[in-house]
């Protein structure tokens, strides 16, 4: 079997050891790191995303596959020192100020990375200023905010408003998510989009990126 296909297969089984070994072998055989990344690791994660959406596999399978992907990425990273790991876009994510829940937002981060995005995870309890400063510094195209509490949801609007004040609306897109959040709420506060789960968040961020191009 072709090495890249093997990487793609073992990644889907969440076998990080095999993915590491095969990535090493592929590099020894002079396969381009970009090809290993695109046709092996990211292609594998794309299939995982589709299978997850179709209920063919469950969340733990996705996370194991992501772990295997990172194992391969760790070997590729040093080879992209000059230009950095090729990415289809940069996303800042975090749980909003006052909210300490971050597992959902972390899942979104894992899925975004799996799809080839660069993700800067600010953790939880992130202030509106921090979201925007980081997005500016990192030249990120999207800010993803999460809230689990109805009491912290208003912070999302503060970020949207602040972005507007700074004249950055449209240049930096905002996607929101979390259990109490909805499409209607996103529209109400002027966010660009709402993602109802991790796979949907990836699809939505991809759509936002293509719009901003």
């Amino acid at each position: 079997m072709d090495l890249l296909k093997e990487i793609l297969e073992h990644l889907q089984h969440g076998d990080d050891e095999k993915v590491t070994a095969l990535t090493k072998k592929a590099l020894e055989e002079k396969i381009q790191p970009k090809d290993i990344l695109d046709k092996g690791l990211i292609a594998g994660m794309n299939i995982i995303g589709e299978k997850y959406k179709a209920h063919e596999i469950f969340l733990p399978d996705v996370l194991l596959a992501a772990k295997a992907m990172y194992a391969g990425m760790d070997l590729l990273k040093p080879l992209f020192i000059q230009e950095g790991i090729p990415t289809i876009g940069k996303v800042i994510i975090g749980s909003v100020h006052g909210d300490l829940h971050d597992i959902g937002k972390n899942l979104v981060g894992i899925m975004l990375k799996g799809a080839g995005f660069e993700v800067i995870n600010l953790g939880n309890n992130v202030t509106p200023e921090k979201f925007i400063e980081t997005a500016q510094q990192e030249n990120a195209a999207v800010i993803g905010m999460s809230a689990l509490l109805t009491t912290t949801m208003p912070v999302m609007k503060r970020v949207v408003d602040l972005l507007k004040e700074k004249g950055l609306s449209g240049r930096i897109k905002i996607i929101i998510g979390g259990a109490p959040v909805s499409e209607e709420f996103a529209q109400e506060i002027g966010a660009d989009a709402y993602g109802y789960d991790s796979v949907n968040a990836v699809e939505t961020v991809t759509r936002l990126m293509s719009k901003s191009r």
Binding site: G14, H55, F58, L59, P60, L63, L64, K67, D102, I103, N106, S182, E183, Y194, Y196, D197, N200
Partner: protein, 490 residues
């Protein structure tokens, strides 16, 4: 620990059985079958042949109870074991012999045809939580004299699962037995690996018709398992109290046990029934009434006390449409039945007082069965102690989604229902078309039919079954079977 529900204590069970014996020995039973009356007379019962009446004796009741098997097994058409009716093992089977099906397109009931039956057999083939099929409804496109055997024929042709069935006439038994012999090869083979369970129904109050009592005898001759389906109606043709109804149910069921065991000791029996309360407002027999379900669970306790496996028509509904009532009555019945350890739980798919089958409801009921089967596995420790290492891992990793403990037990601990059960977020549900329960269930029906794999029964055997069925049909002037059967006539 497997949770077990009980309604009766041993003292009450003994009293009910004792009262039932009193009725059997002092008031007796009407049996409209001279041969059976003679046989009972030969065994010491007091018989008035002309009045079709028999007074049982404690001796023959005891003798019958000693020979009833405490358990038995069923095997599919390929000979693989599928059921072990013993202890508190639980198996679901679709409700049987409906006159109508609920048509998805029109949302109205109609008489089913061969093509409907084949669709049913294909669907039931793929439902994991319903491990047997029943002859669920009666195709109206064949002569009524073969409507019982024809259902069995189609079931055996299209689905590998064992069949809960029954004969509508004494004459039909022969072909229904021959169809089974065509699969098992010999009578001994059929005894060794039972393929069907025949429902045999006494008539309340405390009677047996000629046909149904003869069915008991015929099944017993070939050791074909029998489910005795007594149907007292509380407050109408049975006492209004649940205990009084249980006494009557015991009388009727014990009488069937005696007939079967004196005919052929060791005949496998399911201590079954389809009792109901009588709704004096509507003159109906609600199968989904909580009291009906309590009677079912309670007679199951009596059956177990007497030492045999049990059956009940309990996980079904009286709703006319595939609605919330259909779900609530079916799931309440399934849950109570499984907690009580009723070994063969009949009902899935059934609506409208056992008169209407719905393929869409079967899909939902399959999930009810799945959840219920999970429920009775109870709560068990699985590498849970000591707890400290697990919680250290949780606090370190922040989640346990990819912990080895999770991957080992996730699918064992949780039952994951199919798409008919909506567990999506509202946004995802909307994105996927805001489908109603009925639409989701129908989409599953069509998917399962599309993915159906032909039964692995040998093609020669399928042709033999068709030959037998064609010969039976021609006895009643039907020269051709419906076109769906043609390919098996080659």
């Amino acid at each position: 620990m497997r949770p077990i529900l009980r309604f009766l204590d041993d003292e009450l069970i003994e009293r009910i059985i004792s009262e039932a014996r009193d009725v059997l020995c002092k008031l007796g039973v009407e049996i409209n079958n001279k041969n059976i009356l003679s046989m009972l007379q030969d065994h010491g019962a007091t018989v008035e042949i002309d009045n079709n009446h028999v007074l049982f004796t404690d001796e023959i009741i005891d003798r019958a109870l000693k020979t009833v098997p405490p358990s038995f097994k069923l095997y599919d058409v390929l000979g693989n074991e599928t059921h072990n009716f013993s202890e508190y093992n639980v198996y679901f089977t679709p409700g049987s012999a409906a006159l109508h099906i609920l048509d998805y397109e029109t949302k109205k009931i109609r008489k089913p045809k061969t093509s409907d039956y084949i669709r049913y057999a294909k669907v039931i083939s793929r439902l994991d939580n319903i491990v047997s099929q029943s002859t669920a409804f009666i195709p109206a496109d064949v002569h009524e004299k073969i409507s019982d055997s024809y259902r069995l024929y189609l079931s055996l042709l299209f689905c590998e699962k064992p069949v809960v069935t029954g004969a509508f006439t004494s004459e039909a038994f022969a072909i229904m037995k021959d169809l089974q012999l065509a699969i098992r090869g010999t009578e001994e083979g059929l005894v060794a690996k039972p393929l069907t369970v025949f429902s045999c129904c006494p008539t309340s109050p405390i009677k047996w018709s000629d046909v149904t009592s003869q069915n008991v005898v015929d099944c017993a001759h070939y050791s074909i398992p029998i489910e005795l389906v007594s149907m007292p109606l509380s407050g109408f043709i049975a006492p209004v109290t649940l205990v009084g109804t249980l006494v009557q149910h015991t009388v009727e069921t014990l009488s069937g046990i005696v007939i079967s065991q004196l005919t052929n000791p060791g005949t496998p029996i399911l201590y079954g029934g389809s009792p109901s309360i009588f709704d004096v407002r509507y003159e109906t027999t609600p199968m989904g009434a909580v009291e009906t379900e309590m009677i079912d669970c309670a007679y199951n306790e009596i059956g177990k006390y007497l030492g045999m496996p049990t059956q009940a028509y309990i996980s079904l509904s009286d709703a006319k449409q595939f609605d919330a009532q259909a779900g609530l009555e079916s799931s309440m019945g399934a849950t109570l039945a499984a907690l009580s350890g009723i070994n063969s739980i009949s009902g899935p798919g059934m609506l409208d007082f056992e008169s209407c089958q719905s393929l869409e409801k079967l899909i939902l009921d399959n999930e009810i069965c799945g959840m219920t089967l999970r429920l009775i596995k109870g709560i068990e420790t699985k590498e849970d102690f000591p707890s400290l290492p697990r919680f250290k891992e949780l606090l370190k990793e922040k989640h346990l989604l990819i912990s080895k403990h999770t991957s080992r037990y996730l699918k064992e601990e949780f039952y994951f229902p199919g798409p008919v059960i909506d567990r999506a977020s509202r946004a995802r549900w909307q994105e996927e078309g805001s489908l109603t329960l009925w639409e989701r269930a129908h989409s599953e029906v069509e998917r399962l039919i599309k993915d159906y794999s032909t039964s692995r029964l040998q093609e020669d055997t399928k042709r033999e079954l068709t030959k037998l069925m064609k010969a039976e049909a021609s006895r009643y002037g039907m020269e051709f079977l419906p076109s769906e059967c043609k390919k098996y006539l080659l």
